[in-house]
């Protein structure tokens, strides 16, 4: 129910073994406190999370889909930016 009294919030969850909070969905709530409780009730019912962030969706500045050519295509031809041309010594282990 999208009304001026219940704006949209974006929900980020940090899982048990995850290092970073990951975006997992959105919800409607009257304010930050209720958004946090709703996030808990909707997104952590199966033990998914140990920490929750909620952010007003209106606080997010998004890139324009119509500009994706300008924004992202120039990176596609620069394969040398992928660190796949190095031999990693075995002693280094996981990087």
């Amino acid at each position: 129910m999208a009304t001026p009294n219940t704006p949209l919030w974006e929900v980020f969850i940090r899982s048990r073994n995850g290092l970073a909070h990951k975006h997992c969905g959105s919800l409607h709530a009257s304010d930050a406190t209720m958004a946090l409780q709703a996030a808990r009730d909707i997104f952590t019912r199966r033990g998914e999370g140990l920490s929750i962030w909620v952010v007003p969706s209106s606080a997010i500045t998004a890139s324009d889909p119509s500009e994706k050519g300008m924004m992202f295509e120039p990176a596609e031809s620069k394969i040398y930016r992928h660190p796949t041309f190095y031999d990693v010594p075995e002693e280094v282990g996981h990087m």
Binding site: M1, L27, H28, M34, Q37, A38, R45
Partner: protein, 258 residues
């Protein structure tokens, strides 16, 4: 042929556990009635979650009651095959959902009690009850927080939500005294350290409830006349209707399974 009701040997401990199990089952069932009907999807989930917490508490308590009783009863028989006069829940918890404000006020009054109750019961000399209390306390603490937040928003929200919340408080207030009542069968368990004396919880309950209600710009009634009866099977007219819904399948098709 409809399934007949079971007989229960209500020793003090069996009765004590059944009373708390019935509290959890009946309030949990009331909350489940909101499923698909809540004012918004987010709250639909919140109410169902609380209902499931309570159903989990009810199951553990019924299993323990069956073990203590030592007869042929089990959790399903306690839930599905006792008549309304055999139910021992608080009258407050069988009251109809009404509007959202009424459901939240009922939840708030009870959760403010349950949170204190389960925390105190963690020190029970009965290790099973202490373990159930440790799990239930965390759930009740969240139910209290959630319902408290709604009390503030309903009371201090719009004129309409304020009136609805205040009406619910006025209508449900007389059912709150039963939470703190003790009868002879419970007195012995309290003396043995198995149960706690709920009267000891009342000052703290009143402080919690009063401060939230005041912050929500609402008011508690001054009347101290209180309803009694649920603990002894004397219920309001609402519980029978609830049970006819809850028990229909097992009564009509005894022993049926999914």
């Amino acid at each position: 042929m409809a399934a007949p009701s079971i007989k229960v040997s209500e020793t003090p401990l069996v009765l004590y556990v059944l009373r708390r199990a019935d509290d959890a089952l009946i309030l949990g069932h009331r909350l489940s009635e909101w499923c698909g009907h809540a004012p918004m999807l987010e709250e639909d989930m919140a109410l169902a979650n609380m209902g499931l917490d309570l159903l989990g508490q009810a199951r553990e308590l019924y299993v323990y009651a069956a073990k203590v009783e030592g007869g042929g009863n089990d959790e399903d028989k306690f839930a599905y095959l006792r008549d309304v006069r055999q139910y021992r829940n608080l009258l407050l918890l069988e009251q109809p959902n009404g509007d959202f404000a009424r459901t939240m006020v009922r939840q708030f009054f009870y959760s403010a009690f349950a949170d204190l109750y389960w925390r105190a019961m963690m020190k029970s000399t009965d290790t099973t009850l202490a373990a159930i209390a440790a799990k239930s306390e965390k759930e009740s603490a969240y139910h209290l927080r959630h319902s408290s937040e709604w009390m503030l928003r309903l009371g201090d929200g719009t004129d309409e939500s304020h009136v609805r919340a205040q009406t619910a408080i006025d209508d449900l207030w007389s059912f709150t005294g039963e939470m703190f009542a003790v009868d002879d069968s419970e007195r012995g368990l309290i003396d043995a350290g198995i149960a706690i004396d709920p009267a000891d919880l009342k000052p703290q309950w009143l402080r919690t409830v009063s401060s939230i209600v005041a912050e929500a710009t609402l008011a508690l009634p001054t009347s101290d006349w209180m309803q009694q009866g649920g603990r002894f099977g004397r219920h309001s007219e609402h519980l029978g209707h609830l049970l006819s819904d809850l028990q229909y399948l097992q009564r009509a098709f005894p022993g049926t399974t999914w």
